[in-house]
């Protein structure tokens, strides 16, 4: 069971859980803030819409296509 850090809080999830699912398991489900300041959450769930982009270990990645790994640092704030 991987343990990751989501916006500074530790979170343990089941093996194979996507970061998109972890956002809701360990927080309010939001992934990013839009250009006009709205909070957004994963929409398409399949790598198309880019709404679920987050920073993972310093790189911008799609949460819905990334599987949680031990020690991952996930940030949802701009």
């Amino acid at each position: 069971m991987p343990e990751l850090m989501l916006d500074g809080h530790a979170l343990t999830v089941a093996d194979g859980t996507s970061v998109a699912a972890a956002l809701a398991l360990g927080g309010n489900g939001c992934s990013r803030t839009s250009v006009s300041g709205q909070r957004r959450a994963p929409l398409c769930g399949m790598g198309i819409c880019q709404e679920c982009r987050v920073t993972i270990d310093g790189r911008r990645r799609l949460a819905c296509q990334t599987v949680c790994r031990d020690g991952m640092q996930v940030e949802t704030q701009p």
Binding site: L25, P42, C44, G45, I48, Q50, R59
Partner: protein, 418 residues
């Protein structure tokens, strides 16, 4: 790290898997790319809360048993820098793949249409919610409304219910007459007919569509037009998708001819470009059975096995019939074009409202004036929406086809000028 493939397959869903397995016994060096963590596409998405059918597991095992099939997961196509060459990127690296034959199996995505409140957290696609649940999202004790069009709504409802959600309503925009007409044809495909019983849900309503989602920081409820009446339901999630549309961006950029909204192919699944094929949902929505047949035909054709390809024709024809019945039954109601209000955002990447688009006459003019479609998703969501709303044809994408790292783009330095 550059790579060569006799046969490069883009997409590891049913069509891509079938293509690779058909071509593998020829001994061709096969490379298969997919942007998801596992093979299987959307229909056989794996995850901690997914239960893969035996057929999907078998196909995955067979893929692994062929030493001449290399599968790169989590890998996206970024550019096409030269003839028969693609620039790709995974989590760590960018590299060039040269190929002799190419099969595009890029699948389909959901048509997501703008309506007031659709940007609120808690609103997802219909297939989107199913994908998120399979990948570990908890919906236990949540109230869910599912809306839009097509059989995916029932499949999504079944997944949500199975994981403890209370599905309050399944709102199908097609009329009861259309849905009943489709259901009456189902005995022609017995497996589908049987499946339809397991998916039956008493909260299903035809002739019903979403009007708005509301809530302050996240979704609190939805307003539906249900068979002429307005109904409001409090809920935690709204999963809304209006059917599937082919992913043709890469094909379009590679010069494939387009027919309707899909990549055009002949009886061998070959495109207008020599050595370039396509199979599965990117050639038109039809379900996994059709995709498997098309993939097998494309795989055999690409390695010159004409007779073996021909043996799959009857199966393709049978499932094409199912696809035709499906597409006819779930045609979208023109009322859905009027859901967006002037301040409803159409482009979610650049936050462009509907009112900023209505004054323009085509996609290009609207893009240049407003930045609609120029954000991170490159118009994959709003481009399809404006095609539906205004009839604008989206222009071919330009590289990079997905957001890419600078280091990946620097691989292009090694390329001789085209």
């Amino acid at each position: 790290m550059n790579e060569y493939a006799d046969l490069l397959i883009i997409g590891a869903g049913p069509a891509g898997m079938a293509a690779a397995l058909a071509a593998a016994p020829s001994g061709a060096r096969i490379v298969m790319l997919d942007d998801n963590p596992f093979a299987g596409g959307q229909i056989w998405r794996d995850g901690p809360q997914a239960s893969l059918p035996a057929q999907a597991r078998q196909l995955r095992e067979r893929l692994q048993s062929h030493a001449n099939i290399r599968h790169h997961s989590g890998t996206r196509v970024i550019a096409n820098p030269g003839p028969k060459q693609l620039l790709v990127e995974d989590d760590e690296n960018g590299w060039l793949i040269s190929y002799d034959k190419l099969i595009l199996c890029t699948g389909a995505r959901e048509l997501l249409l703008p309506f007031p409140g659709w940007t609120l957290p808690g609103v997802t696609g219909a297939g989107g919610l199913q994908a998120l649940i399979k990948s570990g999202l908890s919906v236990s004790d949540e109230r869910v409304v599912i809306a839009g069009s097509g059989p995916l709504l029932l499949a999504s409802a079944a997944t949500a219910t199975q994981h403890g959600a209370s599905v309050l309503r399944i709102a199908e925009q097609a009329s009861l007459t259309s849905v009943a007409g489709f259901a009456a044809q189902l005995p022609r495909w017995p497996a589908k007919w049987l499946q339809s019983f397991s998916l039956f849900n008493r909260h299903y309503r035809a002739g019903t569509h979403v009007l708005a989602a509301f809530g302050t920081d996240r979704l609190e409820g939805v307003r539906l037009q249900q068979q002429g009446k307005i109904v409001e339901l409090e809920c935690d999630r709204l999963a809304c998708g209006f059917g599937l549309i082919p992913n043709i961006q890469l094909g379009q950029a590679l010069g494939y001819a387009i027919e309707g909204q899909a990549l055009a192919v002949d009886v061998w699944q070959a495109s207008n470009r020599a050595d370039h094929y396509a199979a599965g949902e990117c050639t038109g929505f039809g379900g996994s059975e059709l995709a498997l047949a098309e993939g097998a035909i494309a795989g055999h054709s690409a390695v010159g096995e004409v007779e073996k390809a021909r043996q799959w024709w009857p199966r393709r024809a049978r499932w094409q019939g199912f696809a035709n019945a499906l597409n006819q039954a779930f045609t979208l109601d023109p009322q859905l074009k009027s859901l967006a209000r002037p301040d409803t955002l159409v482009c979610r990447c650049e936050d462009i409202p509907y009112a900023a688009l209505t004054e323009h006459s085509d996609w290009r003019a609207a893009k240049l004036a407003s930045r609609c479609g120029m954000g991170a998703c490159q118009g994959r969501v709003c481009g399809a929406a404006v095609e539906h709303l205004f009839g604008w044809q989206p222009s071919a994408s330009r590289p990079p086809y997905s957001p890419a790292r600078i280091e990946t783009l620097m691989c292009l330095d090694d390329t001789p000028p085209a």
